[in-house]
Symmetry: C2
Amino acid sequence: MSEAEQVLQTARRGRTAAVTLAPLPRAAKDAALLVMADALEARAAEIVKANAEDVAAARENGTPESMIDRLSLSEERIAGIASAVREIADLPDPVGEVVRGSTLPNGLEVRQVRVPFGVIGIVYEGRPNVTVDAAALCLKSGNAALLRGSSSAYRSNTAIVDVLRDALTGTEVPEDAVQLVPGTSRDSVTHLMNARGLVDVLIPRGGASLIQNVVRNSTVPVIETGVGNCHVYVDAAADLDMAEKILINSKAQRVSVCNAAETLLVHESVAAAFLPRALAALKEAGVTVHGDERVRSFSGDVVPATEEDWSEEYLSYDIAAAVVPSLDAAVEHIRRYGSAHTDAIVSDSQAAVRRFVAYVDSAAVSVNASTRFTDGGEYGFGAEIGISTQKLHARGPMGLPEMTTTKYVVTGEGHVR
Amino acid sequence: MSEAEQVLQTARRGRTAAVTLAPLPRAAKDAALLVMADALEARAAEIVKANAEDVAAARENGTPESMIDRLSLSEERIAGIASAVREIADLPDPVGEVVRGSTLPNGLEVRQVRVPFGVIGIVYEGRPNVTVDAAALCLKSGNAALLRGSSSAYRSNTAIVDVLRDALTGTEVPEDAVQLVPGTSRDSVTHLMNARGLVDVLIPRGGASLIQNVVRNSTVPVIETGVGNCHVYVDAAADLDMAEKILINSKAQRVSVCNAAETLLVHESVAAAFLPRALAALKEAGVTVHGDERVRSFSGDVVPATEEDWSEEYLSYDIAAAVVPSLDAAVEHIRRYGSAHTDAIVSDSQAAVRRFVAYVDSAAVSVNASTRFTDGGEYGFGAEIGISTQKLHARGPMGLPEMTTTKYVVTGEGHVR
């Protein structure tokens, strides 16, 4: 059988499983999740063994240590992954929620009810914990999962999915609710992107090139996630202590994530008061500043910013920095170079905040708070499948409700028009 | 300038207008809508004159009378279109609605607020009234509209858009909030579909081939609308008087619309009691039945159904009909051949209704009610831009809230992680 046909068969099995899974009550889904969590712990040794082969192969290929760390599993890490599954079981079930409802003047009852999508394909990189996380979030929201992880984690993912599927055999959830997409070539992603009618939605999670490939070439509807060129704008009316704290936290608390700041914009009226201390604090945090001329006038450590720096998602200890003549210039810079993920203003001016919030067209706007808060866990969603940077369907952190669609149920007693 | 460049420039102007339009308060938008409505009436003669040229050209091309009727405008019809604009002005503004909000344990305030998409492209056929309707719905929801109507209505649409834009010059809404996409060739649609980053969402309204072209080839996110192969399933526990009334209304009240029924499924236990009267009633309504063998055994007027009939969206006085051995067989038929638009069950059995609602995966499920109710106006939305048959973003009739996205606004007082 060709790889394309194998992928389509996997999708068809997912579709069949989805029919059974979609209307299952919460108790059945939670019971299955708990069995999955127990099985992960009970069979951790197997998973660690398969993972060790992936890690050894990655080392041989000269993979950098930071990537090796993301790929590596231990029994302790697996226990952590299992407890995340138990937390997902504890979350409320989005399915069946009546989103909107009314009785029309003619007596017809209209209810808009949350229902699962059906089959969700997740395309991701690196970390094998995403395999478990995505499977559990899909299952809890009543969706069959088609998991397409990185080829570098294929042995780990195969072992994990074997454990999860075995665990499901004793439950009401069909085991095809959790499937690994066969194949490790780029083509297997292409087959998934063309499985229109079998796959209801694709969610790519990973680097910019993976996401762009899926968004541009998929005929299956896509939810775009996560490229973050986030800005911190320090306004004329900013509390400069607060601004420094928010800047350093946004940039340096964790640099490899999409909600980390990548560009600092400073209003010219506070540039002389703020930039010397900000540049010193960034230096102390180990951050290299790529600045425009006015920023460079405050420190010899600042390297010259190129046009590319303004669009860069560094995901490293680097930040671009510019002085702007006004709030409107800051907004225009953000609209031009930003990725519409998260942008922050530090200001004590009500008028400035109101204008920034109104004109910055991003998934999240932080007011006097770190960009790092744009996260399903931080928002209290309990879990997230990713952060949408598109405007359709969901925008910002996506929790369980964002993994569903709705259906109108209209009930009458012989009503006609 | 190439046609592609002309289309992109139009999109760029829309983008600029959208920045001004998005944060405008309701009062400014409603004032503009009322000025537009007045202008349409005041300059109706101009529009009728341009329309007469389109109609003459269509007649010369041998366009059927039903299409000519859809294309034709009179001063009276324009008055009706203007009053629809005034009704849109009366509807609540979706923009600014706080969809979700909470204060996190750390004191951070999280608000999810409705905001406009930005620029919406509408690709449609035939009727020039859609030009006004789409422009008004986009404006009310804070979006700039790029209108790409049928080439057969190009003169009418040009005249209408001229009137609307002239009307906007005296208002707070920039005139580029309403633009006609230049060009009448198929290519101009292609350019629009590739204007990723300039156009936020495309909504195709029209026939199946138009919609499939846009859905499959657009890199701009699309909301798929409207193909309806709707079913009426008459259950074993149906009230047969009710079933007949709902069947005839669903099929014949208006045949050219997407929420009209195209297939009748009858449970075998009531086939002998229901089909003779149903076939007689359909005949009286002028409907040709394309039936399977069992349906044909009840009347010589039934023509044999081919495999294609089960998937057909007739939009005419035709209906496919089959006898099914069970409710589950009906559900399977609907899942296999349906378009997931609207499917109805007629049954007095609570268990049957519950199972049908749970397993039919369609945008709307009608219980003891005509399929014809799937409509924004009928649902009390006041207006609709179309009926989404996709699962992403919006599903079913789309009113003003469905023409918006959301933005998270997170407010702290120096909060860091």
